[in-house]
């Protein structure tokens, strides 16, 4: 059995003749990168794997930088995505509630939806339930949490992942975090989405609660927020709050929905701004497996920022984006998919595939992946 270098790799510094400069290799198949010295990178490029150290070989295979020689990579990626989309299509259930309804109407709706979920759960094929709640008033949030708590206890939580996504007002988290800490549910991932952040002081209180205080939520927390002003207009208070967050965890700038006339330059400028202000960020694209799941899985507390003004509608769009990718794979054979533009694209593993269905062209974020990576690697070297 022989091996080859995967074609889904982005290198930096390949033309450099300096043996002192490290070379970074990024695999779009796993959205992971590795720092190599000049000699190892050359061995990798020449596919001279026998002379690479064993431990490193293991890592390179794990990252899928090295793959079997007879593997049809395009087919592998498409098949994997196809199975991923099939699994997630059948197993997810999105429940949306908005703020305009009365308390009684919400209560009845929760019960009604509960029956549908129970029905699906009984068929043993339900894995993920998303609750998307748009409530901006804290007293209603507490009521809501109690209702969810009461009615989800009847389910086998081991089998089903529950994502409770709450759109909140800046500062409101401080009022009900105590309530959360006594909830008996332990397998729920809460996603707090702060919209319309104009009051930086109130927002900073929430940041302190989530990131700095020792609160036992007993659950995983994802924290998303939308800053509705272009980064060039961010005040010192905004920058200071973001620095506090990035001191604890990475910020994941959300590039997915940014559309600018000068889109090739935008991400780089934004990243340079973040870096200059010592706001740590993660540039790696979310792998398609996570797009299907809707929400990143690898961190207990994560945060996401964007300066795009779409706000909460974008968050809903984010949750729904998996549907768009799934559509690419529905009712189409692998043979047909192979004819698509996406099939030849080096970014297919991280993107999942959009073209030919609803989107006229690739999402903007795809164009800038290489720029982002190269900038990131350049900064690593410095």
């Amino acid at each position: 059995m022989r091996f080859k270098l995967s074609k889904y790799v982005i290198f930096n510094n390949l033309n450099s003749t300096s043996i002192d400069k490290p070379i970074y290799a990024y695999s779009t198949r796993t959205s992971r990168y590795i720092k190599l010295n000049f000699f190892t990178a050359n061995l990798l490029l020449k596919e001279n794997f026998l002379n690479i150290e064993s431990k490193l070989i293991n890592l390179l295979i794990e990252m899928e930088l090295i793959v079997p020689e007879n593997e049809d990579e395009e087919e592998h990626i498409l098949m994997k995505n196809y199975f991923l989309s099939e699994e997630s299509r059948a197993l997810s259930f999105i429940v949306e509630f908005d703020n305009s309804k009365t308390q009684e109407a919400i209560f009845n709706e929760i019960k009604e939806v509960g029956c549908s979920i129970q029905e699906e759960a009984n068929k043993d094929n339900l894995r993920t339930v998303y609750f998307l709640f748009d409530f901006r008033l804290s007293d209603r949030l507490i009521f809501l949490m109690e209702e969810i708590d009461r009615y989800l206890l009847g389910f086998n939580l081991k089998k089903i992942d529950f994502f409770v996504s709450l759109i909140i007002m800046p500062g409101s988290l401080a009022l009900f975090n105590l309530k959360l800490s006594v909830l008996k549910l332990r397998d729920i991932r809460y996603v707090f989405v702060e919209d319309n952040i104009s009051d930086m002081n109130a927002f900073a209180i929430n940041v302190d609660n989530v990131f700095h205080k020792d609160i036992n939520f007993g659950c995983s927390i994802y924290y998303y927020f939308f800053l509705k002003s272009h980064y060039s207009n961010w005040s010192d208070a905004t920058i200071s709050t973001l620095q506090k967050i990035s001191g604890v965890r990475f910020i994941h700038p959300d590039f997915s929905y940014i559309e600018r006339p000068n889109k090739d330059n935008f991400d780089s400028a934004f990243m340079t701004f973040l870096r200059n202000n010592r706001i740590a960020f993660n540039v790696f694209p979310v792998l398609q497996a996570k797009i299907f799941n809707g929400i990143p899985e690898d961190l207990n507390v994560t945060s996401q920022i964007t300066d795009f003004t779409g706000g909460i509608e974008e968050w809903k769009h984010y949750l729904q984006s998996s549907k768009k990718v799934r559509t690419f794979y529905s009712d189409v054979t692998i043979k047909e998919l192979r004819k698509s533009k996406c099939c030849k694209c080096i970014y297919l593993p991280v993107c999942g595939g959009y073209v030919n269905v609803e989107e006229p062209d690739c999402p903007h974020s795809i164009f800038s992946i290489k720029d982002r990576l190269l900038l990131f690697f350049e900064n690593q070297v410095i």
Binding site: S54, N58, F83
Partner: protein, 287 residues
């Protein structure tokens, strides 16, 4: 919690190191690359099976099946099977195909024996892990007598080195009192005791039946405890815990209740399973 994670990390690194040394000795460079690939694909298949993504898991195993079966019955085949067989077994288990799952675990056990015979004690503990996987299957399908039979044999070996001369565990004799034995026995023993006991608590209804099952589980421990050589604080805490539970079965209710309450107030944060099981016995004793 943090202490446990740190300890688990040390254990994992310890095993990974020993396992890597074994592979270094047994495989040439070209074979090692192939093994890395088989190992990674098996791990991916296992990971997706754990998440319940069965079709995707099947996709990964289908990639590896043909490669593995095309290998001659050589060392690469055997080493690859140490990873592939348990992972594929879990894939079957997850789908409720217990016969296939059991068969692959039996194959994995026979495969591991080969490496123990070659002088790699670390594989003796890999073998015990496969027995534990069998126990998990039996427990899930309420095949309690088979589960208890294996539990008893493994616990006797870990406590005293005693093994049934005709059984497969007989192959474990050479690993008794090796460095690997002293490093691993507490983790193995506690894993089997706690997991099985918790499973009984969750699955079995009725005071008398659960009393009987727990007694059958713990009797081999009570009988062999005197041979267990205490070498660290973990051993000490476990022995203390077992002796308190022994009081319950000896009918010393007042002594048991007093000791259990002290233990629970002092050790509750250290090990959740220990605390939960003890709290269960305490409740049983009070009702």
């Amino acid at each position: 919690m943090i202490q446990n994670s740190g300890k688990q990390l040390i254990e994992t690194e310890y095993y990974t190191g020993l396992y890597a040394k074994m592979i270094d000795r047994l495989l040439n460079k070209h074979e090692k690359i192939q093994f890395c690939y088989f190992s990674n694909i098996s791990t991916d298949g296992l990971m997706f099976a754990r998440k319940g993504a069965i079709a995707l898991s099947g996709f990964y195993f289908s990639k590896i099946d043909s490669c593995i079966s095309s290998l001659a019955d050589g060392m690469l085949f055997k080493v690859s099977n140490t990873v592939y067989l348990p992972a594929k077994s879990y894939y079957f288990y997850k789908q409720g195909q217990t016969t296939n799952a059991e068969q692959l675990l039996s194959d994995a056990i026979v495969n591991d024996i080969h490496f123990v015979r070659l002088g790699f004690p670390v594989m003796g503990f890999h073998l015990i892990q496969q027995y534990h996987n069998l126990i998990r299957i039996y427990l899930r399908y309420q095949r309690y007598s088979e589960a208890l039979g294996i539990c008893s044999s493994i616990m006797c070996f870990l406590l005293s080195g005693e093994v049934d001369s005709e059984g497969l565990l007989n192959e474990l004799r050479p690993i008794y009192q090796t460095d690997e034995y002293y490093f691993s026995r507490h983790a193995m023993l506690s894993q089997i005791i706690y997991e099985t006991a918790i499973c009984f608590i969750k699955q079995i209804k009725g005071k008398e039946i659960i009393y009987k099952m727990m007694y059958q589980l713990l009797l081999p421990i009570f009988n062999n405890l005197e041979y267990y050589e205490i070498v660290n604080d973990d051993d000490l805490a476990m022995i203390k815990w077992i002796k308190i539970i022994e009081l319950f079965f000896l009918g010393c209710d007042a002594d048991f209740q007093a000791a259990a309450k002290i233990f629970l107030s002092g050790h509750a944060i250290m090990n959740t399973s220990q605390s939960n099981i003890l709290a269960f016995f305490l409740e049983l004793s009070l009702t």
